[in-house]
Subunit: 324 residues, 2 copies
């Protein structure tokens, strides 16, 4: 089978690609394991191909209709659609967010529909689809009420994917990801960028400004479990998804203060002292609109899992990314 | 002020136009009454102008970007966006539904954004945004889970309108309409067309096939109260709408059997005998996915109202439309 990852040069795309290459197969729509013959990574920049002959790297714009039509042939049996403009940037540049987060997703769905072979698609969505006045525990039945353009665009894509799936154009599923921490690499324009930065930078000997108050509660997942969830979510049979293909993934609920204390416990006072808490109302306005926790019992009943606690997330970062 | 009604030749558009002309004013975003100097009615066919000099009729396609840019000048202070491809037709012709129900709505919002004057916009949404496994009473906080393309397109427009409003591009509000009964005129391709037909046709001496079982529960509103709600919803100040601009309008909850019995009570056995109940699984699949009732306490607290009962709906049809 051929597998396509959009946003394939991003950190999740690269980790997913590595894991898929190691694993070598995915389940098709009938639940049968299929060997991965080719893995296409598309992104605005050239992705790393890990020197693996199965990888084909494409640098291109996913909001280009011709490119998408060309790319999505009947040979592409599975698609992981990870490409996105992050929350802070989509809020600052409305048109760019609409073009990549909404229009490109629709082009992808239309290209699949026109190819006509009903590929599996995994869409990643986000805590940002929730907002406004939220119950203490967000349920699967809680209304989406995004308070950012990023969240609105993700929520719209969820509706599109659900309808394209209901119509039989694709075999889709939406995985709503918690905020991912600890992301390796540089800070980005996501409002939640600090949720990685306050751990990553101190561990790398650098200072980090934390723009959120210690009481702010966040719903988190490590990159390791995010990748596990993407693959396990892909492999689910459509029949277990019922009438709503959007799944709230398991995560852990911690406050910013607890995150800092976990770092102190693992790496000591000197490392934790590299964090300066300087609340920024713009960042807080976005991140506080997201749920600090949601009920993930549906996902758990489908076999999806999260990290046991935040300390294990820090340890996973140290093992997987700090030395690399 | 200039007011635009899309779908202005439709039955709701025409009734709304008549009512606005009689009333002569609407509240602007500051809550100040403004005289209506011009009422633009756009539709694919030429609307009736009622011989009123304030009315300007435009026959055109609202999915034409140039036309929408031309139409939406800074002089248009209020827009009622009623144009839509109805549920049954949007299900049968996916592309047409997407073009009119989604793309045209987005063009409208973009034209407003580019004009830059933040007009008031009333979007009509529908019971069809709900679906799947529903609680007995749908609440404002119940997740949208449309099971038709029409419902998905309406839900997407709700998200767009909410985000364009949050960003300050428009002063928008979404009114989720119950199924409207009794619509005058001919049957249409809405899955809910029968909810008018089973009353209208017998009262006009014609037979009517009812494709729904007597136990099917529907959430209804008369055209009279729908128009009242559209105007009252328009006139609400944005500050009372909070972080979610979508309002579940009041209605009444009746079964198909109760509707038939109400007709019998008002017009006698002979009239009611013109209905033949012949359940159609395709119609039922769509209509059963919609809530038979929702909690409208938010709308009621904002002063919006519904018919007292179904008999008064039949009487309103007889008064307003049967003789005309």
């Amino acid at each position: 089978m051929k597998v396509l990852i959009t946003g394939g040069a991003g950190f999740l795309g690269q980790k997913l690609a590595k894991q898929l290459l190691a694993r070598g197969s995915l389940k098709d729509s009938d639940g049968v394991d299929q060997k991965i013959d080719q893995l296409l990574l598309i992104d605005v920049v050239e992705a790393n191909d890990f020197g693996d002959q199965r990888v084909k790297v494409i640098a291109g714009d996913i909001s280009n209709p011709e490119l998408m039509q060309q790319l999505i042939t009947t040979e592409i049996q599975s698609i992981f659609h990870l490409a996105a403009i992050v929350s802070g940037q989509a809020e600052a540049d409305f048109d760019l967010g609409m073009r990549i987060n909404l229009d490109a997703a629709r082009l992808l769905l239309e290209a699949c529909r026109s190819a006509g072979h009903k590929p599996k698609i995994v869409f990643t969505s986000s805590v940002a689809v929730y907002g406004g006045t939220l119950p203490e525990m967000v349920l699967d039945t809680t209304a989406l009420n995004p308070q950012s353009s990023y969240g609105a665009q993700k929520a719209i894509c969820e509706l599109l994917l659900n309808d394209y799936t209901r119509k039989g154009f694709v075999d889709g599923r939406v995985l709503r990801l918690p905020t991912i921490s600890v992301r390796p690499g540089a800070p980005n324009k996501a409002a939640s960028s600090f949720a990685s930065g306050i751990i990553r930078e101190p561990l790398n000997g650098k200072p980090s400004i934390c723009p959120a108050s210690p009481d702010l509660r966040i719903w988190l997942l490590s990159p390791r479990y995010a990748i596990e969830s993407l693959i396990a979510g892909h492999d689910l049979h459509s029949s277990v998804l019922g009438l709503n293909k959007s799944i709230n993934l398991p995560g852990i609920s911690v406050t910013v203060g607890q995150m800092i204390e976990s770092l102190r416990k693992i790496s000591g006072d000197q490392v934790a002292a590299r964090i300066s808490v300087e609340p920024d109302s713009k960042v807080e306005a976005i991140v506080r609109s997201w749920p600090g926790a949601w009920d993930a019992s549906r996902a758990k009943s489908l076999g999806l899992k999260a990290d046991p606690n935040f300390e294990s997330i820090i340890k996973a970062y140290i093992e997987d990314d700090l030395k690399s």
